[in-house]
């Protein structure tokens, strides 16, 4: 999918929060955001209030492996960038405010630690990232481009770096990097200004290399209070060193098998150290470690192991054992042991005291929690200990500055300041977070809906196939079910709406669903294939709901169903490749209804299936790196190889057929692949689409001249099921391609005879023609539709499975050829999309028009949108985002807001990038609808597609025009009202939004994003971008325009002074003047003679031009 397309995701998360097994943590400097990375590769952004309330806001997708480290990547507070690194060597730069991916890169080795470092030469400031990991150097990476600039190398005993710390010197230009290697050697590098400026790959050697005998070093940190000591934490002991000559000042061994995992200075004389099982201890350092003390360095050279400095606090995380089957909940009890503030008597504090405070029962977590200490550098001046665990829970402790005042003999409790898990945040929501078919999945007597475990969307039919954990498969119109979940309307009164079909056959969870026809037209369009944990693969007829065949060839859960590539032998071409958890691969022939090959000798889980059709080979890549080559025809194992040969064989398959690549390890996890797959599917759909267009042209003879519209390959709506972890239920992302919606709307408009223009005679003629063609059939279908609807509603009122089965069979007999309810997919998509985007509640009059005349529906609650950025990286708002948004807006407006206050309009206060995308979408769509006949979402025409191309559903092609659909739009007064409605909607979003919302609730659109669309290939988007850009330039006023010009001026090409247009001042890349057809002619006159010498003139020019623009705009709109 190209980044150029205007694609908006909407997420339906369902009630189960995604698995978030936290692997790394970061708190932003201003203490308003916490960032967590998880083992599955997602990053979660949490908002934190000054009262330490936390609320998850968004999840960032893009990494394919576990997040190993997070670091901030910018120094200034207005640009909040972070960098994340994953186990597979990926590095990604994100904008924390809106979740945009700014830059990404991939190296061969994984980073395990990143430190941000800003250096200054004169006035110039540049950000650097120092990275260490599974390689023997420290890589210095540019913080904006993520390019490796140079590396810090060891001359003596080079080895992996376990941990490093940067010591900033305020006196000189020299900053020091101190690192400990895995073999316990302390390394020191000096970064001078000269070194930083160096751009070539010359290595920098260390200044000092000193064995400090710290093997298994976990962390190293520098005391920023005294600037004179270093804390090194190893799993079995922690030590304090002098930062000057690295001599040992103090060493404390761990007691009772505790493994230390990190530590930090919290004051000049105090350190906090935490263990693997989540306990933390605060120690007071002995006088020999304190610079201010007269005993400083008195012990150098004679420090003994085992002298334990006084323990001041200990924080233990303890979890109660949870019951089986319940959610991941645990109770955190924090105990603080307060000991007499005895500075002198070290002997008092023995191991026994510590022992007392170890957790009695280990938390029911699947891996050790991550603990970090963060020190607020600005107000509020918090010292925060923060912990994230495998259940997606964050816990915060505010660390007190002072030692306990009076000596206490018994430990007192320090309350955890704040704690929340993702699931808890989801559970708190009211209304609960919607899942795509929740209304069809709630069984009587159960509160939780049946989880969707596998799904596939069939774009050509607009239908979603959902396999569920009870073994049933639901076929449902995607837009209809999404409308139920997202929008309010009369459908709320109907149970079991929309009409759907249930396929029952699997005995347990359905694990994968495949619709082969979507991938290749060589398959029967009736066949749907599903695999389950009951080891079976079932072939269904989706039009009758009949179970065609059950394959029981595997000895484990089916994990994947794959379509073989085109150029395989004819026998294999009609097969489906199934992969099971018993490490077997089968080729199941749908035509012969038998398994033609079963490859089952693999010792390790199958990670990838590749094909060499020319040699009749099936290549199986296993998770341990071994590759098995199977002959498809004979089923013989040709080869089994490892190492370089294995890699070469796999690569050779890619070279032969790049499209057949199919990694299995993260089937639904890997978004990038999902995206590629989606576009591949779209490409395949194109061939089919061509045929459809041809058929349409033949049938709609009177519209022949309009038939030469650009052929369109993308689908307006794609529903992509995603899961972040294999054990999670599916969540569904609805991708709306604005350009595709517009094109489909226009195509349908072009195919419709225009009742405003045609005379009554022609109307009758065409009607007669339609009747002749297939009104008999059309009427029959219409009757059946009604019947089906009635039946479905009835059957769900009865709500009995047996009844349903019977009903279904009866219905099948009655209407073999009929698939579910017919409806106008394009208009439904537009209805859903516009209803989600409209800023409800700003103009009551307009809202009423939208609801009544235009047929839009108000959302139940603020909708979770997403933002797609570079390289298929994506940020999706969690349903809980509205809570933090509410809080934020309440704070800004100074009054308590409720959820209904922010429905619709709330999203315009989320981030500037989101606003830009949304405004562009809604304005371009409203403009498109304005130009259409009968562009309302109410009325009979919504049930039928007007002259839709033949559906793959198999019904014989007829122009499905009912008399109702034709009669309705012929009312010119109504038509005018509808048009006016759309124009008002467009005008409100284009110019009135900032005033109506107020600047505290409105994040203005980004000028550069608008400017980039100035010449968008889609005319409607282009016009919307131009109108918005001018409106925004006017809004920001003279000073704002000057600021914009100042910001962009350095990037402008030199010739900008001679060819000037409003677009170029904000847009660095395409300095071309706007195309003539996009601009009203009146505005073109002053452009040529404009000679910009002064910013003010430009600005004045802008405002002049804009007044003109606005007049024109309003003329057009009203």
């Amino acid at each position: 999918m190209s980044g150029n397309n205007l694609v908006l995701p909407i997420v339906l998360w369902g009630r189960t929060a995604p698995t978030h097994c936290i692997s790394s943590l970061l708190v932003m400097d201003d203490f308003s955001t916490i960032i967590t990375g998880c083992h599955d590769g997602q990053i979660c952004l949490w908002d934190m209030t000054p009262e330490l309330e936390i609320c998850p806001r968004a999840i960032l997708f893009g990494h394919t492996a576990s997040i190993t480290c997070l670091s901030k990547a910018s120094a200034c507070s207005d640009k909040q960038y972070i960098v994340s690194a994953s186990e597979s060597g990926e590095m990604c730069l994100w904008d924390v405010n809106d979740g945009r991916c700014i830059e990404f890169t991939k190296l061969a080795c994984a980073h395990t630690g990143i430190q941000f470092y800003q250096f200054t030469i004169g006035t110039q400031r540049e950000g650097r990232l120092l990275c260490n990991g599974h390689y023997p150097e420290i890589l210095v990476v540019d913080a904006t481009s993520l390019e490796v600039l140079y590396s810090l190398v060891s001359k003596i005993a080079p080895d992996w770096i376990s941990s490093m710390s940067i010591i900033r010197s305020h006196r000189t230009q020299e900053d020091t990097v101190v690192a400990v290697s895995v073999t316990g050697i302390l390394k020191v590098w000096i970064i001078t200004a000269e070194v930083s400026r160096m751009q070539d790959l010359d290595p920098v050697f260390e200044e000092e290399s000193k064995p400090i005998y710290c093997q298994g070093c976990q962390s190293i940190s520098f005391c920023t209070f005294t600037q004179s000591s270093l804390l090194v934490v190893c799993s079995k002991y922690w030590r304090v060193f002098d930062a000057g000559d690295y001599s040992l000042l103090c060493s404390v061994a761990s007691e009772n098998d505790q493994a230390w995992t990190g530590g930090e200075f919290i004051a000049a004389d105090k350190v906090i150290i935490w263990t693997e099982d989540g306990c933390s201890y605060i120690y007071k350092l002995p006088p020999s470690c304190q610079r201010a003390s007269e005993h400083f360095r008195s012990d150098v050279g004679k420090t003994k192991e085992g002298s334990i400095p006084p323990l001041i606090y200990s924080i233990t995380a303890r979890a109660d054992k949870q019951k089986e089957g319940e959610g991941d909940e645990e109770e955190l009890v924090v105990e603080v042991m307060c000991l007499p503030p005895s500075e002198y008597d070290l002997e008092l504090y023995t191991a026994e005291l510590l022992y007392h405070h170890r957790p009695l029962e280990a938390p029911l977590l699947i891996c050790p929690p991550v603990t970090r200490f963060f020190f607020g550098r600005r107000e509020p001046f918090y010292k925060l200990l923060i912990q994230g665990d495998s259940a997606g829970r964050l816990s915060l402790w505010s660390v007190p500055d002072t030692s306990p005042l009076q000596p206490l003999s018994a430990p007192v409790e320090l309350q955890v300041s704040s704690t929340i898990s993702l699931q808890e945040a989801f559970d708190k929501l009211a209304p609960v977070s919607a899942g795509i078919i929740d209304q069809l999945s709630v069984l009587s007597g159960k509160s939780e809906p049946i989880k969707v475990t596998a799904s596939v969307y069939i774009p050509s039919q607009g239908r979603l196939v959902c396999g569920r954990e009870d073994g049933s498969i639901i076929l449902v119109p995607a837009t209809q079910t999404a409308i139920v979940q997202l929008l309010q309307g009369e459908h709320m009164l109907r149970r079991g709406w929309p009409p759907h079909r249930t396929l029952r056959g699997h005995r347990n969870k359905v694990t994968c669903v495949l619709y082969p026809y979507q991938i290749s037209p060589r398959y029967d369009q009736r066949s749907l294939v599903s695999g389950g944990v009951d080891f079976s693969v079932i072939v269904w007829d989706i039009f009758t709901g009949e179970m065609k065949h059950i394959f029981c060839v595997h000895g484990g859960e089916i994990t994947q169903l794959i379509v073989p590539p085109e150029n395989c032998s004819t026998r294999v071409q009609h097969c489906i490749c199934s992969v099971a958890s018993d490490h077997s691969v089968g080729l199941l022939s749908l035509r012969e209804r038998k398994c033609i090959m079963l490859a089952s000798r693999h010792l390790f889980p199958i990670q990838v299936i590749k094909w060499r059709p020319a040699d009749d080979y099936l290549v199986v890549g296993c998770s341990d790196g071994s590759v098995y080559v199977w002959q498809m025809d004979t089923g013989a194992l040709d080869r089994c190889v490892m190492g370089i040969t294995a890699v070469e064989i796999l690569n050779a398959c890619d070279e032969l057929a790049p499209a057949t690549v199919d990694a299995l390890s993260h089937s639904a996890v890997n978004l990038k692949q999902a995206m590629t797959r989606r576009s591949l599917a779209a490409l395949k759909n194109m061939a089919q689409h061509k045929l459809q267009t041809l058929a349409t042209n033949l049938l709609a003879a009177d519209n022949a001249d309009k038939g030469n519209l650009p052929k369109y390959s993308h689908n307006a709506l794609v529903v992509q099921a995603m899961k972040t972890n294999m054990t999670d239920p599916d969540m569904h992302v609805l991708f709306f391609d604005v350009e595709a919606v517009i094109i489909q709307l226009l195509t349908e408009e072009a195919q419709r005879p225009n009742p405003m223009l045609v005379s009554p005679e022609t109307l009758q003629k065409s009607q007669a023609g339609a009747d002749k063609g297939g009104s008999f059939l059309a009427n029959k279908i219409f009757r059946q539709v009604k019947e089906t609807m009635k039946e479905t509603i009835k059957e769900h009122l009865l709500d009995e499975d047996e009844e349903e089965e019977e009903e279904m069979r009866r219905r099948e007999e009655k209407c073999k050829s009929l698939s579910l309810l017919e409806y106008n997919l394009t208009m439904d998509t537009a209805k859903l999309f516009m209803s989600c985007l409209h800023a409800w509640g700003l103009n009551e009059q307009l809202d009423a028009i939208c609801l009544e005349r235009l047929g839009m529906l108000r959302p139940h609650c603020p909708i979770s949108f997403g933002l797609i950025s570079r390289g298929g990286h994506m940020s999706l708002m969690l349903p809980t985002f509205k809570e933090s948004l509410l809080h934020q807006l309440s704070l800004a407006t100074g009054r308590k807001l409720t959820l209904t206050d922010i429905v619709g309009k709330g999203t315009y206060g989320v981030s500037r990038a989101v606003t830009t995308q949304h405004l562009l979408s809604i304005i371009s769509l409203a403009n498109t609808l304005m130009g259409m006949t009968n562009a309302t979402f109410v009325g009979e025409h919504m049930k039928k597609a007007p002259a839709r191309p033949p559906r793959p559903g198999g019904t014989p092609e007829t122009p499905r025009r009912t008399s109702a659909a034709l009669n309705q739009p012929s009312n010119p007064a109504l038509q005018a009202q509808i048009k006016q409605g759309w124009s008002q909607l467009a005008a409100m979003h284009c110019v009135m939004l900032p005033d109506l919302l107020g600047l505290d609730k409105y994040r203005p659109p980004l000028l550069e994003m608008l400017a980039r669309r100035w010449q968008d290939r889609c005319l409607e988007v282009r016009e919307a971008a131009q109108a918005l850009l001018l409106a925004e330039l006017r809004r920001i006023g003279q000073s704002g325009r000057k600021d914009t010009i100042d910001v962009w001026a350095p990037y402008l090409p030199q010739y900008v002074d001679t060819v000037s247009s409003p677009g170029t001042t904000t847009d660095p890349s395409p300095p071309a003047p706007p195309p003539p057809e996009a601009q009203p002619t009146e505005t073109k006159a002053p452009e040529e003679e404009m000679d910009v010498t002064d910013d003010d003139i430009t600005a004045a020019e802008f405002s002049d031009r804009h007044t003109e623009w606005k007049i024109i705009l309003l003329d057009v709109l009203q």
């Binding site: 891996c367 050790p368 089965e805």
Partner: protein, 296 residues
């Protein structure tokens, strides 16, 4: 199978599975309490053996590590002979004899006194296996596993390290010829290596390999189609590259190798432990499908 039957069978099935479930639950508890620890113990023993093979240098005492000499040769050709001395992960001495075909003159190179060449592959493998051991050390008999997911997570982490350790040995870094030419390796020899000879050392999979490339300079405006070759572990004759505005073509490639017995042992240990891990995961997964089972 028809639908009618499968529906009517359902109640019977769930009744049977009640008893089955109880048994399975008991069996699963045994797996978590007994079997997992037994496997982990075995795994730890195997990995300790593997780790012992990689002698870890103690700071300051590197010189006390055992030195091993390897004579590298090939059964098919005798143009190149090499004697390499390996100490831990570093090559501390190398003697290379190269017989140039056309002049029948024997070139002799050895490492400079002050230089040694670290084999990064061995160091990486050693570090990965030690990380795997660390993961296992924190979960000894005293640790009580409560869920299958916990075991799976641990196994995934261990297997990731082990796969990486093995991959480091089985898949040497593929380099482009200019990368090889500019690596420090060329400056390590005395007498200095002539401009038309390049060498490379690597491990694959348990053999210490030495590759010698003989180059010839392509005339600047040659009619021959110049196409620089990409990165590869072993370049073949005819590969071309450009360095400092000179174009070169590989004329001869000589590869000699010698098995390092202890590396072979470690590879066997890696394979055994990976299989142990996978088998444990498979055992858990058998139960997990029953675990999720809910009769509907």
């Amino acid at each position: 199978m028809n639908q009618q039957r499968s529906v009517s069978e359902l109640p019977k099935m769930s009744a049977a599975s009640q008893v089955e479930r109880a048994v399975l639950e008991e069996e699963f508890n045994w797996l978590l309490k007994e079997e997992v620890h037994a496997v982990l113990k075995q795994l730890q023993d195997v990995l300790k053996e593997a780790s012992r093979r990689f002698s870890i240098p103690t700071p300051g005492l590197e010189s006390q590590l055992k030195q091993e000499n390897f004579i590298l040769g090939s059964s098919t050709m005798d143009q190149v002979k090499g004697v390499l001395t390996l100490q831990g992960e570093a090559l501390i001495q190398a003697d290379i004899n190269l017989k140039v075909a056309k002049s029948s003159q024997v070139l002799h190179f050895q490492f400079r006194e002050d230089k040694q060449w670290k084999l990064q592959q061995i160091q990486d493998a050693r570090n990965h296996v030690n990380q795997a051991l660390q993961l296992l050390n924190s979960r000894d008999e005293s640790h009580c596993f409560k869920t299958g997911a916990e075991v799976n997570k641990l196994m995934d982490a261990v297997m990731l390290q082990l796969t990486r350790a093995r991959n480091r040995l089985t898949t040497p870094a593929s380099m482009t010829l200019p990368e090889l030419a500019s690596s420090g390796l060329m400056k390590m020899f005395t007498p200095p290596m002539p401009g038309d000879v390049m060498v490379n050392f690597y491990i694959n999979p348990s053999k210490l390999c030495l590759t010698v490339y003989q180059l010839h300079v392509l005339p600047p405006n040659t009619t021959k189609n110049f196409k620089p070759t990409g990165s590869s572990v072993l370049h073949s004759p005819g590969a071309m590259f450009e360095l400092n505005n000179n174009r070169f073509e590989v004329s001869h490639v000589h590869k000699v190798e010698c098995v390092v017995p202890w590396l072979n042992d470690t590879l066997v240990f890696f394979t055994i432990s990976l299989q142990l891990c996978q088998q444990l995961k498979d055992k858990i997964s058998v139960f997990s499908s029953f675990w999720n089972y809910r009769p509907f």
